[in-house]
């Protein structure tokens, strides 16, 4: 009798154990702590604030159009389960998935998608592609309960791309009712999205914490219950915190990554994730030496790009000849030879331009995605000094630089900046080079014409050809120059499963870890 009771108890215990395990397997558990050098604006409104906030903001939202890790549009991961366009590319129809709810319990409807697109086409949009949306979107209508129809002023072949993680944050769906009730200011610090993680806590200057939904239509059950983005400015401190298990993943520079790898940590690489390029500030000002094409060319020839890649980036990257993000992911692009390092030619060009003794140049220095940016700036300053151009580094935070980039603040003189930004498959020429664009420092009617022609193309061949013409023109006039592409590095503990970071701009697909 006692033996039977013991067997019965054992069986019941085993059943309970398996039952509990099965139950736990279907729930998110634990906490994933990610250490970052900056949390940028520490706000959560998709289009109010820098695009880079998407690094921690993205798991909280859904995109109108979803992409997989290879950057391909996937309707199963899109709020719009289907989309159509007319042949003239002027009318786009999106069919909105039903049953998605925002974290406050409201249904996500076509009105929210309409609101999101309309907001992207206003001056309020500060997420990166304001001018594209304002230039193109004429009208957004909700025709049927699941339908949103967008009428464009002119063809926009890459419109779909602009609604994905491959571009800006404009595709992240905002809750219309909630924002209208509470206001944008409130929404910035009390965000509501429909993504797999919902907002849990923000401690200014400390961390941002999200909590997983038990199940989500796009991701299923997230692996981790909590997702915490810890602000830890000093790399040495992040390194120490990773080693003792206080953090699970850290953003890390090239140099330290090698040591961490040697010590048994896993390196998660977003290959060619970053493009590092040089751009001018207010080159259109006639009294600035950089208004002269020869001066711009001289400054480009003066830079030893290969040494920068080999020594500052420890060989983790490659020199590029393009003057913009690489078109490597979505659009095939011809390889461009990079401008060789030729200080003698630089001096000769400066002399021909009327500046044999050089002039004073300002170089804005700030860090966005690449910790080595400041070292690159110092190297460039020394290269320019070597050809007689006195270079003053202006150290500041990216947020402080932004008014200069958007022409709301004046530079002290002819200036330039190095920006390490995520490589993106579709590049906004208008955004960067059109005379009237927010971020453009070029005023050139030929360029405006080229951009106009490019934007009116409806065939993919014509589109690529148009892009090439603009690229050739940019290089011919030295309106910008690329330095290199490099990889974005994260070091992590062995307990964290390796995952595909994807090809999105500033997007890391944290919610897919362990999926």
């Amino acid at each position: 009798m006692r033996k039977t009771a013991s067997i019965l108890a054992l069986v019941i215990s085993l059943m309970l154990l398996f039952n509990t395990s099965a139950c736990f397997a279907n729930e998110p558990s634990g906490e994933l702590k990610i250490g970052l050098p900056t949390l940028y604006d520490q706000t959560f409104h998709p289009i109010w604030g820098t695009l880079y906030r998407r690094q921690y903001m993205e798991p909280m939202y859904d995109y109108i159009i979803g992409v997989d890790a290879d950057g391909k549009y996937v309707s199963e991961q899109s709020v719009a389960y289907k989309w159509e366009r007319t042949d003239d590319l002027l009318t786009w129809t999106f069919y909105i998935r039903k049953g998605i709810k925002f974290h406050n319990g409201d249904d996500l409807t076509n009105e929210d998608v309409r609101y999101t697109l309309e907001q992207a086409a206003t001056k309020k949009n500060n997420a990166g592609s304001q001018s594209d949306f304002m230039e193109h979107i004429a009208k957004v209508e909700t025709m049927a309960p699941d339908k949103v129809v967008v009428s464009l002023k002119k063809p926009w072949p890459t419109f779909i791309n602009a609604l994905t993680a491959l571009n800006g944050a404009e595709g992240l769906i905002q809750p219309k009712k909630y924002i209208e009730e509470k206001g944008d200011d409130y929404f910035m610090s009390h965000p509501v999205g429909s993504g797999p993680y919902k907002f849990f806590e923000w401690k200014e200057g400390v961390h941002v914490k999200f909590v997983a939904q038990d199940t989500h239509w796009r991701v299923g059950t997230p692996k981790y219950k909590y997702l915490t983005f810890q602000l830890m400015p000093e790399e040495g401190s992040r390194d120490a915190a990773l080693r003792v298990g206080e953090l699970d993943i850290i953003s890390v520079g090239m140099d330290r990554s090698k040591r961490l790898k040697k010590d048994g940590f896993v390196l998660q690489e977003k290959k060619d994730g970053l493009y590092v390029g040089l751009m001018w500030i207010q080159q259109f000002q006639s009294d600035f030496p950089i208004n002269n094409k020869k001066v711009r060319e001289a400054l480009v020839y003066a830079i030893d790009k290969k040494t920068i890649v080999d020594y500052i980036l420890a060989g983790s990257g490659r020199v590029v000849g393009t003057a913009t993000s690489m078109f490597t992911w979505a659009i095939e692009y011809k390889p461009y030879p990079h401008t060789p390092y030729d200080p003698e030619k630089a001096k000769q060009l400066l002399t021909e331009a009327g500046f044999p003794k050089g002039f004073t140049m300002y170089l804005y220095s700030f860090v966005t995605k690449l910790p080595e940016t400041k070292l690159i700036n110092e190297a460039i300053a020394s290269y320019w000094e070597a050809v007689g151009v006195k270079t003053k580094l202006l150290e500041m935070d990216y947020s402080a630089f932004k008014p200069v980039w958007t022409k709301k603040a004046e530079p002290p003189g002819p200036a330039a900046f190095i920006l390490a930004w995520p490589n993106r498959p579709v590049y906004s020429w208008r955004h960067m080079y059109a005379s009237d664009a927010l971020y453009s420092h070029t005023k050139d009617p030929v360029m405006d014409q080229l951009i106009g022609d490019f934007e009116s193309e409806t065939s993919s061949e014509g589109y690529i050809e148009g892009a090439r013409k603009i690229m050739d023109y940019v290089l011919e006039n030295a309106y910008a120059t690329g330095i290199c592409t490099t990889h974005e590095l994260h070091a992590m503990s062995k307990d964290v499963p390796v995952w595909e970071m994807g090809k999105g701009v500033g997007s890391y697909r944290w919610e897919y870890i362990g999926k």
């Binding site: 500060n126 810890q230 401190s237 935070d397």
Partner: protein, 306 residues
């Protein structure tokens, strides 16, 4: 004593008022505050609206009074970057810095007093030399480097302390030690030289001649008289540490006032800068005020002079 306190309080308030005028003037000299406060995408209507909301279309003296009364109420407006009320950010970070500095202060004084006394009493001996080496190193080694070394030793190698955070007493050990070391060195050196002066004075000689025990001579007569300069230095330094411990706060990811001030400046967050500068000014003035009171308590001559 009461009269002295009242006079010092009035002086403190006047200094703060002067500081507020300086901030008010400098902000208006450095550019249009509306342009600084508005987001980059604001329209002309937004500009006019904010101008009237801030009362900037009123005469300058009225503007100053509005600014002053709002500041007294703790209303510094909202941060441009985060849209969060500035006072909330200050309320969150200032106590963190005060807590850290308090611990650092205790560590600093607990080490510096015996060190300074030993160095003075054992002048010219190996103890004095050792104390001078220790204090010299404490002042010359960068705090930032000390922080990184402490991280390497206690977090990575020994694994007995946490790298960041501020939830338990263990979190305070490294950042407070970092700050405390610098304070300890300064106080110990000051105390040593001050003690040497006092030990050489007539009244100490008299006490010794009268046969007073050496420990009483040192701890009661010499130390109390030497503490005047130390109190003055410590009071000033505590205020500086509260508002400017940015390097230590950065290394240990400590969410303190120094990092808030740094973020305000690098982001040109005008309302936050205004709030932070006035608060920092108030902290320094308050520290001075209490130091002066303590000074008067320790030295009756000051009370008599007043």
């Amino acid at each position: 004593m009461q009269r002295y306190i009242v006079i010092r309080f009035i002086q403190t308030v006047i200094t703060l008022l002067i500081l507020s005028i300086v901030i008010f003037t400098l902000v208006r000299m450095s550019g249009d505050p509306v342009l600084l406060m508005l987001p980059e995408t604001a329209t002309e209507e937004d500009y006019e609206l904010m101008k009237s909301q801030l009362g900037l279309n009123k005469p300058v003296y009225q503007q100053y009074l509005i600014f002053l009364f709002d500041a007294v109420k703790g209303d510094f407006g909202k941060s441009i970057r985060t849209r969060k009320p500035v006072i909330l950010s200050i309320k969150e970070t200032l106590p963190n810095s005060i807590k850290l500095v308090t611990v650092a202060f205790v560590i600093g004084f607990a080490l510096s007093i015996p060190l300074g006394i030993v160095a003075a009493v054992k002048k010219g001996t190996v103890w004095d030399n050792m104390a001078r080496v220790v204090t010299g190193l404490g002042q010359s080694i960068p705090t930032f480097w000390v922080g990184l070394m402490l991280l390497q030793i206690f977090v990575v190698w020994l694994r007995i302390l946490p790298a960041s955070g501020m939830d338990t007493w263990q979190h305070y050990v490294m950042p407070a030690t970092c700050l405390g070391i610098f304070l300890m060195s300064g106080v110990a050196r000051l105390l040593r030289s001050s003690m040497l002066d006092v030990l050489d004075s007539e009244f100490v000689k008299m006490a010794r001649i009268k046969g007073v025990r050496e420990s009483v001579v040192i701890w009661k007569h010499a130390l109390r008289n030497s503490l005047l300069s130390v109190v003055s230095f410590g009071g000033m330094y505590i205020a500086i540490m509260v508002t400017g411990a940015i390097l230590v706060e950065t290394v240990f990811a400590w969410p303190g006032f120094g990092r808030l001030a740094y973020a305000a400046i690098v982001n040109q967050d005008f309302p936050l800068i205004q709030g932070v500068v006035l608060t920092a000014g108030a902290v320094v003035m308050s520290a001075n005020f209490f130091t002066d009171i303590l000074y008067a308590y320790l030295d009756p001559r000051i009370r008599v002079q007043v």
